[in-house]
């Protein structure tokens, strides 16, 4: 089976500044791929290029079998996206949010009607279908946002620091949702600040100053860099960074 994300020397330059410098990696189908790096390391820029939001300066990349230069619209249909900012409408109810986001991905009314109860059941939110999202606790909102981002059954879901500001218990539950999605064959591309979350990933890439400094399974990375935890590995790699986070 071909990889779902392939990049070859993918670069993005803003003026003289090389935000992302010759990234080459592959992500397999159904994989949970952790994308780590300090602030300013180039994570977000790389992710935006893969989502079709930003045109690369050079290099090659394909997502879900489509080229990022020539087929960004096809890519958009095949991916889901959840940003670090909470991204549901607080003044709409839970089911209205589901209907809206599924609708703009072109799902038919019938598909949405079928999907909504399934989704609510998985989150155990059946009772809250008519509750305004603003009235939900933060943890529930984040879980709902994730479920909404994969409601249209994308090949890949991009998660940009999805658990920032969420308590440990909810983070655990959130990762259960991620595993569940991966089991169903959705590829998960996730950036995070939490090193314990990096341990949950199948493979982790660590970006430093616009390049990938390391890419392997968490176990191998710890072995190679002689660390007890991913935190040690990350620190060993990132302390040599010259870019300051913003």
């Amino acid at each position: 089976m071909p990889p779902v994300i392939t990049t070859e020397k993918l670069s993005k330059q803003f003026g003289p500044f090389k935000a992302v410098n010759e990234l080459t990696f592959q992500v397999e189908k159904g994989e949970i791929f952790g994308f780590l790096g300090a602030n300013g390391a180039g994570k977000t820029t790389a992710m935006r290029m893969l989502c079709g939001l930003l045109a690369p300066s050079s290099g090659k990349a394909s997502v879900a079998g489509f080229d990022v230069y020539t087929q960004p619209n096809q890519i958009k249909r095949k991916i889901g996206y959840m940003s670090q900012k909470f991204s549901l409408y607080g003044d709409l109810t839970v089911s209205e949010n589901i209907r809206f986001y599924s609708g703009i991905y072109g799902m038919s009314r019938q598909q949405i009607r079928q999907k909504t109860p399934e989704l609510l059941e998985e989150l155990q939110l059946q009772q809250e279908a008519k509750t305004l999202v603003a009235d939900l606790p933060l943890g529930w909102k984040q879980k709902l946002a994730f479920s909404v981002s994969i409601a249209h059954d994308p090949d890949i879901v991009f998660l940009d620091e999805p658990t920032s500001g969420v308590d440990p218990v909810t983070r655990r539950q959130f990762w259960e949702l991620i595993y569940h999605a991966a089991e169903k064959g959705v590829t998960v591309f996730v950036t995070t600040h939490y090193m314990d979350e990096a341990e949950y990933c199948n493979r982790v890439s660590i970006m430093v100053d616009g390049v990938i400094a390391a890419l392997d399974t968490p176990a191998h990375l710890k072995q190679q860099h002689g660390g007890e935890s991913m935190e040690d590995v990350f620190y060993a790699l990132a302390r040599n960074a010259t870019r300051k986070g913003d």
Binding site: G52, L53, N73, I104, G106
Partner: protein, 381 residues
């Protein structure tokens, strides 16, 4: 290439758009506060401008100088004194005193009856009375002069019926300080321009900036939903609400101010939609340059309300402004819309009288929408 089980792209697009527009309406109608403001604003403005700020002037201080002192002038002076519009001050006898009183602003108008007034009237059938008005405030100046003319015309009619032949007293009006008066102001066209402009720019910019602030804009951009559609979906509810607002103003002014649309309502509606679209484009442009809802709101208030109030011509006549401001007024869309409403609504004129203004508005609309569309796409990449 879309996968085979997907419906054709055009069909999807249309469905997506409808979903989005529905969501916009849901949000608008759920926000009771904004809704109240949207529809309260035109009502408040009409009441405020129509009643409270009415341009009726009562008890203006005037001076009557009578060089004739005959039966006719005494009758007319009696009528003037009886009128609630005027308070007659003691007679000032010479021109210097008059001038000084005008300068100090103690009097608003002087009425001068020349010597031999009744004699002239009897011999030639015609006599003129001089009315000198302080027009430093042009609106008040005209209004006061009009009241006086009215009183004299009434007396003319009386004379005609007594004499059985046309006798004429000609009011000779002299506007001090501001000889070229613009016509009597009517606030309704101005209020219409102001309300539509404000509602459109504010609602649009706030609605879009809100999505940026929330972070939902990013999600929309990653989705297959087209940028142009985001704009269309955002503008549609505002367009409809503004059209409703337009009809509310027309209805209010017809019922409460007894001011009906004299010309074609269809033409007026068409031009109003054009003006609304222009204002929506300005709101779109504002949203591109502001990153917070407060910023967008302030931009709409400061950037649009002041120029619209000052440079539209409904509070201050543009002809009396310095040349630089007159030039500036030309780029204010409401200035042209104001002329259109005045001509169609008040004067009952047809398209022939407003084609130039309509064309200017159309040009502004196309240019502004084009620019904001372009900027919107670039900015969001």
């Amino acid at each position: 290439m879309p996968s085979p089980e997907m419906p054709p792209e055009k069909e999807i697009n249309m469905k997506q758009l409808i979903v989005f527009i529905k969501k916009e309406f849901l949000q608008v109608f759920r926000d009771k506060q904004t809704l109240l403001m949207l529809f309260g604003l035109p009502i408040a403005q009409i009441v405020l401008f129509g009643f409270a700020l009415s341009n009726e002037v009562k008890g203006s201080k005037i001076v009557i100088t009578d060089y004739s002192k005959d039966a006719v002038t005494t009758r007319i002076i009696g009528k003037i004194t009886a009128s609630q519009y005027f308070t007659v001050e003691q007679s000032l006898q010479n021109a210097d005193q008059l001038q000084a009183a005008f300068r100090k602003g103690t009097i608003k108008m002087a009425v001068v009856f020349p010597a031999n007034f009744a004699e002239d009237l009897a011999r030639t059938g015609k006599a003129s009375v001089e009315i000198i008005a302080d027009a430093s405030d042009p609106n008040e100046g005209t209004t006061v002069a009009n009241y006086m003319t009215q009183i004299i015309n009434d007396y003319n009619l009386e004379l005609d019926s007594i004499a059985g032949q046309p006798l004429q007293i000609v009011p000779d009006i002299l506007n001090l300080y501001n000889p070229q008066l613009s016509g009597p102001p009517n606030f309704v066209p101005g209020v219409m321009a102001l309300v539509l402009m404000l509602v459109c720019t504010m609602m649009t910019s706030v609605a879009i900036v809100k999505e940026k602030e929330l972070g939902t804009m990013e999600i929309l951009l990653v989705s297959p939903f087209k940028t142009l559609y985001i704009i269309i979906a955002k503008l549609t509810p505002n367009l409809l609400i503004s059209i409703v607002n337009f009809f509310i103003i027309i209805l209010l002014s017809s019922v409460f101010l007894d001011l009906q649309v004299k010309g074609s309502l269809l033409l007026l509606t068409f031009c109003s939609i054009l003006f609304i679209l222009t204002s929506l484009s300005i709101g779109l442009l504002l949203s591109i340059y502001s990153s917070t809802q407060q910023g967008a709101m302030m931009g709409a208030l400061m950037g649009m309300m002041l120029p619209t109030m000052l440079l539209t011509g409904f509070l201050f006549p543009i002809d009396n402004m310095p040349l630089a401001l007159q030039w500036l007024a030309n780029i204010v869309p409401s200035r042209w819309y104001f002329i259109i409403v005045k001509n169609v609504m008040l004067k009952g004129l047809g398209f022939a009288s407003i084609w130039k203004e309509t064309l200017i508005l159309l040009g502004m609309c196309v240019i502004l929408f084009g620019i904001s569309l372009q900027k919107f796409k670039i900015r969001l990449q």
